[in-house]
């Protein structure tokens, strides 16, 4: 497998130094940008560039391991295993049963309810798809919040906290101020974006000024934000009247995302915002000087510095964008599905978003597909949990495994005995030093 950053071995042009091994030029997370980027080209590359075969096999492998977990923990399987030697076929069929029922519930829960379709109940038939889109919207946006800093060489694990903090701003505007329809929603979104950007900007600022590693600062800020949200939700000016639990007043109708299909299906205009964000960020990243600088800093921060780019400022810019995306992400729930701010409004989206961004290899369109995939898994997972009792945590396991296998194509190849293609391992290749 040719590693594109390998020097010509004949030309030994390492510098004469005291032997301290310098840091390697960071391989980028994604196939490097070409000069002829177009939307269709980018779409094509995001899908095919990952060596589709290996990616598909990675998913298959993950599902296989998931199947083992499901089978091993299914009560039926355990029971029939008890008398395995008397009636081995029972165990086998119990295994088969548990796995297929779980996975078919998963797939149906993500895409289409076949039974409902047969019955002609369109609304119920498309409920899974609507759920997938609904759940994907915040995942995509939060994934962008992780992906953009990736491109600048930063690991933003703080989407969770940025979303929590943003919820305060967006929610407050949503229930405390009255504005005409349309405008109210936009102002609420802007407030969320501003709050999120501010909170994320802290991380960028600390990194730029003091070199504090963002992995630790973002994780600490996550916890701080969650507690802060909890405190805010107990304050008079934020807590709903007459309630003792941490919940805000319901947002005004004018501040909500309209639903496409009435009350039956939850999918709302937020998904449009998510797709728009993907396009806008793709354009920014590939067509603007800011995007160019972000990519330069992420690919090789020292070369960027030497070329006159203010690396610290770019980090801050990337984090501000990320925070804004986090703000939009939480608005999907605050202004879309839940219509309130609660302590658990962020859920686990911030962490899921990391796997989304990794799977999407840091490219906006990649994040779009990854967000849809993992959104589908989650929506399907909920249905699977409801109908077969398989805990939804299996989805987390699948997500982690998929990302791990995608990150190490060599592993997948050796499992399936495929010969080497052109993929390279996922790498940020940095230590604690800045």
């Amino acid at each position: 497998m040719s590693d594109p950053t390998n020097n010509d071995p004949l030309m030994d042009d390492r510098e004469a130094s005291t032997g301290l091994s310098g840091s390697t030029t960071a391989d980028t997370l994604h196939p490097p940008t070409e000069l002829t980027s177009s939307v269709t080209g980018e779409l094509r590359r995001a899908v095919l560039g990952m060596n589709l075969l290996v990616s598909a096999l990675a998913v298959v492998l993950a599902l296989a391991i998931g199947a083992v977990l499901i089978a091993l923990s299914s009560p039926n399987v355990i029971e029939s295993a008890g008398y395995f030697f008397a009636r081995p076929l029972d165990t086998v069929s119990a295994i088969w049963q548990s796995v297929t029922s779980a996975y078919s519930a998963l797939f149906q829960g993500a895409l289409i309810n076949i039974d409902a379709l047969r019955e002609g109940d369109i609304s119920r038939a498309f409920y899974p798809l609507s759920e997938t889109l609904t759940v994907s919207a915040p995942l995509i946006l939060a994934g962008l919040a992780v992906a953009i800093p990736f491109r600048a060489g930063l690991f933003n694990i703080g989407a969770q906290g940025q979303m929590a903090f943003a919820a305060i701003g967006g929610g407050f505007v949503g229930f405390a101020i009255s504005l005409p329809a349309g405008v109210h929603l936009i102002v609420s979104l802007i407030a969320a974006m501003l709050f999120g950007a501010f909170y994320a900007g802290i991380v960028g600022f600390l990194k730029a000024r003091t070199g504090a590693h963002e992995v630790i600062t973002t994780i600490m800020l996550n916890y701080i934000a969650i507690y802060f949200l909890g405190w805010v939700l107990n304050q008079d000016w934020f807590q709903r009247e007459g309630r003792n639990d941490p919940i805000s007043p319901i947002l005004s109708d004018t501040a909500l995302f309209p639903r496409f299909f009435g009350d039956g299906l939850r999918v709302h205009a937020g998904i449009v915002v998510a797709v728009l964000a993907v396009v806008v960020l793709w354009w920014t990243l590939t067509k603007t000087t800011l995007g160019f600088k972000i990519q330069t800093v992420g690919a090789n921060a020292s070369a960027a510095r030497t070329a006159g780019i203010d690396v610290g400022r770019i980090w801050i810019a990337a984090m501000l964008i990320a925070g804004a995306m986090a703000g939009l992400a939480v608005s999907m729930n605050v202004n879309g599905t839940d219509k309130v701010v609660t302590a658990g409004i962020v859920g686990n989206i911030g962490f899921d978003a990391i796997t989304v961004a990794l799977l999407g290899r840091g490219s906006p369109f990649g994040v779009l597909w990854a967000g849809l995939l993992f959104g589908g898994l989650r929506a399907g997972g909920l249905a699977m949990q409801a109908s077969t009792g398989t805990p939804i945590d299996i989805v987390l396991v699948l997500q982690a495994l998929i990302v791990l296998f995608i990150a190490a194509p060599a592993l997948v190849r050796s499992v399936f005995r495929i010969r080497a293609g052109g993929t390279e391992a996922l790498s940020l290749a940095k230590g604690w030093g800045t």
Binding site: L206, T217, Y227, W231, A425, W432
Partner: protein, 426 residues
């Protein structure tokens, strides 16, 4: 032209030296003055704070110390400022600022306690004893980090390793009704997770931070799945382990103040002492430690003398993960007694911060972990005695302290030379 010859090429020429920057003393003094003033102002002048020093019924009894809240805060604040002032001359002659910094810190904390403890009693010894206990997972996590990162592999997965250790420790302890067997199982769980990190880092050269984060997700998912499937269904069978006992070491535990803190603790705390000492000695005084450090500082040099770099790293990671797993047992076998979802609550990351704060040294990381444990326990104690600060802000305390530590009140730190850089043979 006349040319004067230097004596030998090994002569090191004299260099001009700039005066030391007063940045650190300035920060220390401003902190001491600002925070000191706040605490004095907030402390009620008409109430009495009591510091308790006895735990239980000691042989040597130390009297309680009562004093006026505001006066106490003032005294401690002045003490803090004095320590900060001492930093200036020390800094000018480039001495170590650790003692003044410690002095400022301790004095400010005492001033803070004078304020929040007004009209109340603060159990000082109990506070410190609990801090040591809460620091246990942090110390184990930091030791894990020491082993892994000193060999050149970043271990972000400490959180996950703690979690799976807690899980398996609880399950085995519960199934076999024996806390010690659970304690044996916990590092196995950590090692298995660490195996994944090791493989992906040393064989497939995937970015170590990425693998660490993803494995954390995996750990949460796996433990959550099994928890829902088994532990909540039959908690008495799966999730009801006995707790590790607290043992009071005779004689030593009677020493005033220090005795109860150090020698009247849970078994896992004593285990922690052993682990820290063993790692400290092994790392710096044995061949294994020398080779491990060489692999983390300059793997090419190690390779050139025949040391197997990736194999050494692999083993260090698995061993480190086992240590973290062992620390995870604290949560279930040492403290709560039952596994709960995501019960490690960020301890793994605080341990990482302790590692960095402690400059990748076992003893330094231990000290840093104790500091964070103190912040954590302070929040506990304050919420029990009731304090003027809202509980959520108290809960934030350990995380805020960690940020301050990492942000560089510490100064630039230097990780092992090849930390995080995969070693590929050309």
């Amino acid at each position: 032209m006349t040319i004067a010859m230097p004596q030998k090429s090994s002569d090191v020429p004299l260099v001009t030296i700039a005066p030391p920057s007063p940045r650190k003393p300035i920060i220390m003094t401003s902190l001491a003055v600002a925070l000191g003033a706040v605490f004095i102002w907030m402390a009620p002048s008409d109430q009495v704070t009591t510091f308790l020093f006895n735990l239980g019924d000691p042989v040597i009894s130390i009297p309680d110390w009562e004093f006026n809240a505001r006066i106490g805060a003032t005294v401690f604040a002045i003490l803090a400022v004095l320590f900060a002032a001492a930093a200036w001359p020390i800094n000018a002659r480039r001495g170590s600022l650790m003692l003044p910094a410690l002095g400022v810190g301790v004095s400010l904390v005492l001033a803070f306690l004078s304020w929040v403890g007004a009209d109340s009693r603060i159990p000082i010894t109990g506070l410190l004893q609990g801090s040591l206990l809460l620091a246990v997972p942090l110390v184990f996590g930091a030791m894990s980090g020491v082993l892994c990162e000193r060999s050149g592999v970043i271990n972000i997965n400490i959180e996950g390793q703690l979690l799976v250790g807690a899980f398996l420790g609880a399950v085995v302890g519960s199934l076999l009704s024996n806390a010690y067997l659970g304690l044996l199982a916990a590092p196995v769980a950590g090692a298995l997770l660490g195996l994944l990190l090791a493989v992906f880092a040393t064989k497939y050269f995937v970015d170590q931070v990425v693998v660490g984060v993803v494995l954390n997700v995996l750990a949460v998912g796996l433990t959550g799945f099994l928890y829902t499937r088994f532990l909540t269904e039959e908690p008495d069978l799966w999730n009801n382990p006995p707790l590790l006992p607290t043992i009071s070491i005779p004689v030593l535990s009677e020493i005033p103040i220090l005795g109860p803190i150090l020698f009247d603790q849970n078994v896992i705390v004593y285990l922690m002492y052993v682990v820290v000492i063993v790692i400290q000695i092994a790392l710096f005084k044995t061949r294994w430690g020398l080779r491990l450090r060489s692999v983390g500082e300059h793997p090419e040099a190690a390779d050139s003398v025949g040391i197997r770099v990736n194999r050494t790293r692999f083993r260090a990671v698995v061993l480190g993960a086992a240590v973290a797993g062992l620390g995870g047992a604290f949560f279930t076998l040492g403290s709560v007694g039952a596994f709960g979802r995501e019960m490690t609550a960020g301890n793994g990351f605080i341990a990482l911060a302790a590692l960095i704060f402690g400059r990748w040294n076992p003893l330094g990381a231990l000290a840093a972990a104790l500091l964070f444990g103190f912040a954590d326990n302070l929040q506990n104690v304050l919420s029990i005695i009731g304090s003027p600060i809202p509980s959520q802000f108290l809960l934030m305390l350990p995380y805020v302290v960690t940020i301050f530590a990492v942000v560089g009140l510490v100064g630039r730190v230097r990780a092992p030379g090849a930390d995080g850089i995969p070693f590929r043979k050309s």
